[in-house]
Amino acid sequence: MIHLGIKSLMLHKLRSFLTMLGIIFGVCSVIAMLAIGEGASHEAQEAIKKLGPNNVIVRSIKPAGDPSSGGARRSFVADYGITRLDAERIKASIPGLSRLLPMRLIRDEVRFGTIKFPCQVVATLPYYTDITGTRIVHGRFLTPTDDFYRQNVCVLTAALASSLFPYQNPLDEHVKVGDGYYKVVGLVEERGTEDKRPQSGMTSGQPLDSNIYIPLGTAASRWGDTTVKRGAGSFEAEKVELHQVTLQFKDTDAVEAAVAPLNSLLSRFHKDKDYEFIVPIELLRQAERTKRIFNFVLGSIAAISLLVGGIGIMNIMLATVTERTREIGIRRALGAKKKDIVTQFLVETLVLSIGGGLIGVAFGVGVPFLVERFSDMKTIVTFWSVAIAFGISAAVGIVFGLYPARRAANLDPIDALRHT
C-alpha cells in the first residue's frame, strides 16, 4: 500500500518534493525554534536558580539625582545604602527568615610581590559559602573565630589565586590589599563562574572570579564604612555600611510573604530609594511566564506554517485526483471499493506529510546542533517538540488528505472511465 503510494508519487518527483517542502520547513522550524527558545530560557532559569529560590537579595544602590541629596552636600562622601541597623530591623521583624548574610563589596587591588590584580573584596560572614553555594577547593573558608578576632586572613577565588601565584602554593602566603596584609587560608570556586553572570555581588566591573573574601569584622577595622576610589584625576568617596544583604528564608512561601513587609520596612527609614530587591523566585516565575508566551507565539507560527503546508498538500492532491480520474475509474472497474480509493489517496497524502515530517525532524534536530556548534547559544531539543511537530504533520496529512481522497472515491466509475 505504502509502496504503491510512493510509486505514484515518484511519477512526479519534483512536484512531490516541492509539496513536502512546506511540511519540511514547518516541522523543522517548530523544532529548531523551540530548541533555541528552550535553551535560552533554560540558561536564564539556571542563572536565577543559582541565586537561590529561597533567598531575597537586598542591594545598596546609589540613588538617582545624588548631588542634590543631603548626604552628598555635607561632604564629598556619597552616603547611601543599607545600614547595619536595617539588617537588625529585618532580623527582628520579618517572619520566616532563617538567616541574614551581610556583605561589603570593595573594589581594590590585590598584590603579591610585584604581581598585582584588580579584585573585589567581599567582606562577609562564615556561612557565605552555605548560602551562595560556593565550593571550597583548598584549605578552609572564613571561620567565626576569624571574624570575632578580626584576623587578617583571606580566601581567594581559585582563578585569582592562579593569577597571583603562578608558581607556588598560595596557602599561608600573605597578599596585600589596600594597606593591609592578609594570610591566604583557602581557595574557593563560585557557583556562577562558568557563565560569568553577576550572582552575589556587583552589577558590573569585577568579574566574579577575582574575589577576595575577608571577615566582615576585619573589613570594619581596616576600612571603616567609607571607601575611597581614585580614578584618573578623580576622587570619589562613598559611605556604605552594607552593600548587600542576602536574606535566606525557610521556603518560597515565606519569601513571597516577606516581600511586602520588607518594602514597607525599608521605605520607612530610607528617604531616597537607595536599595533594591532581587527576588529570584519572582524572576523565575517571570521567566516561566515569558517562556509560556514565547512557546505560545512559536506554536502559533508553527501551526500557521503547517496549515499552509497542509493546504499545499491538499491543493496538489486535488490536482492529482483530477489528473488521475481515469485511473480511479479503472480501479473501480477492476473491483476497488470506495474505501480502497480513499485509502490509496490518503496513503499518498500521508507519505507526503509523514515523509516531509521525518525530513523536517532530521533538519529540526540538525539545525539546533549546528547553532550550538557555531555560536555560544545553548539549545535543547525536547522530545515533546519533536513528537508534537511530527504528530501535527501526520494529522495535517489526514485532515487535508481526506477531502481529496473522498472526492476521488465518490467519482462515478463510468464518468471517471470516460474522463480523458
Partner: protein, 238 residues
C-alpha cells in the same frame, strides 16, 4: 437452458435525466447469455451499446428492470457489493486499454487480485502464466508506455482474466488498433473462447462480428435483432 444462463436481464431501462430532457438510453431490454458464448453487440452510435455493457459490467445500475449475474440480483446491490461483483465476476477490456501507467505489466495484471486481497507475491505465478498466455511473458517488468497499442491491449486482456471471471466485457477492443494488430487481438479472443471463456464484445465492424457465435443488433435502446452466426466456425478455423 435458462437455468444455467450467467446473465439474465428482464425489462431493463436506463434513463439519463438531464434536467429538461430525459434520454432513454435503454428502452426495455430482455437478454440471456449462456456460459461459453461469444456475443457481438452491434448498432449505430448512440443506440445504447455502451450503456448496455456498463450495466452488464455492474458499473451502472438500470433505472428499471432486473439483472441477475450468475444468480446474484445485481440491480439492487449496494456499492461495495457491486465493486466485489465487478472484481470477481467480470473482466473488462476497454477501447483505450486503460492500463495504469506507474505500474509494470505484471502489476497491472495483478490489480483485480489486489482488490480481492490477494498479494502479488502469493499469485505471482498465476499472473506470470497470464502474461505468457497473451504472449508477453518476457515483458512483465515493462511499463505500459514502453509497449505498443496491441501489446497494451494484450496486457488488458490478461488482466481481465486474472480473477477467472464469469465473462469478459469488451467495448470496441480493436477500435484503437490497426487492422493487423486488431486481428491478432481477435485471434486471442477466439482462442480464449475456444477454451470456454464467455465474451461479450461491442463492435462496429461486420467482419469482427462475424467471429462471434451470436450477434445482437441494437437500435434506439432496444434489441433489434438477435441472431446465431452460422459461418462462425469456419472463420475461427482460419
Amino acid at each position: 437452458m435458462s437455468g444455467k444462463a450467467i446473465v439474465r436481464i428482464k425489462g431493463i431501462t436506463k434513463i439519463y435525466d438531464l434536467g429538461e430532457v430525459k434520454v432513454k438510453a435503454l428502452a426495455g431490454v430482455d437478454l440471456e447469455i449462456q456460459p461459453g458464448s461469444y456475443v457481438a453487440i452491434m448498432g449505430a452510435s448512440g443506440s445504447g451499446k455502451s450503456t448496455m455493457l456498463n450495466i452488464l459490467g455492474c458499473l451502472d445500475r438500470p433505472t428499471q428492470g432486473q439483472y441477475f449475474l450468475g444468480g446474484l440480483d445485481v440491480a439492487h446491490m449496494p456499492d461495495d457489493e457491486l465493486s466485489n461483483a465487478r472484481g470477481k465476476q467480470i473482466g473488462f477490456v476497454f477501447q483505450s486499454y486503460n492500463l495504469i501507467e506507474q505500474l509494470t505489466v505484471i502489476e497491472n495484471i495483478h490489480i483485480p487480485l489486489f482488490y480481492q486481497g490477494k498479494s502479488l507475491e502469493d499469485h505471482y505465478d498465476h499472473c506470470l502464466k497470464l502474461a505468457h498466455l497473451v504472449g508477453l511473458g518476457d515483458r512483465i517488468e515493462h511499463r505500459p508506455k514502453q509497449l505498443s497499442g496491441g501489446q497494451q491491449q494484450r496486457v488488458a486482456i490478461a488482466r481481465s482474466l486474472a480473477n477467472e471471471p464469469l465473462m469478459i466485457l469488451a467495448d470496441e477492443p480493436t477500435g484503437n488498433l490497426d487492422s493487423h494488430t486488431g486481428q491478432e487481438i481477435l485471434d486471442l479472443f477466439d482462442r480464449l473462447n475456444a477454451k470456454g471463456t464467455t465474451i461479450i464484445m461491442v463492435t462496429h465492424g461486420e467482419e469482427t462480428a462475424s467471429r462471434a457465435q451470436r450477434v445482437i443488433r441494437m437500435h434506439d435502446g432496444k434489441i433489434a435483432s438477435d441472431t446465431i452466426n452460422p459461418g462462425r466456425s469456419s472463420i475461427a478455423a482460419n
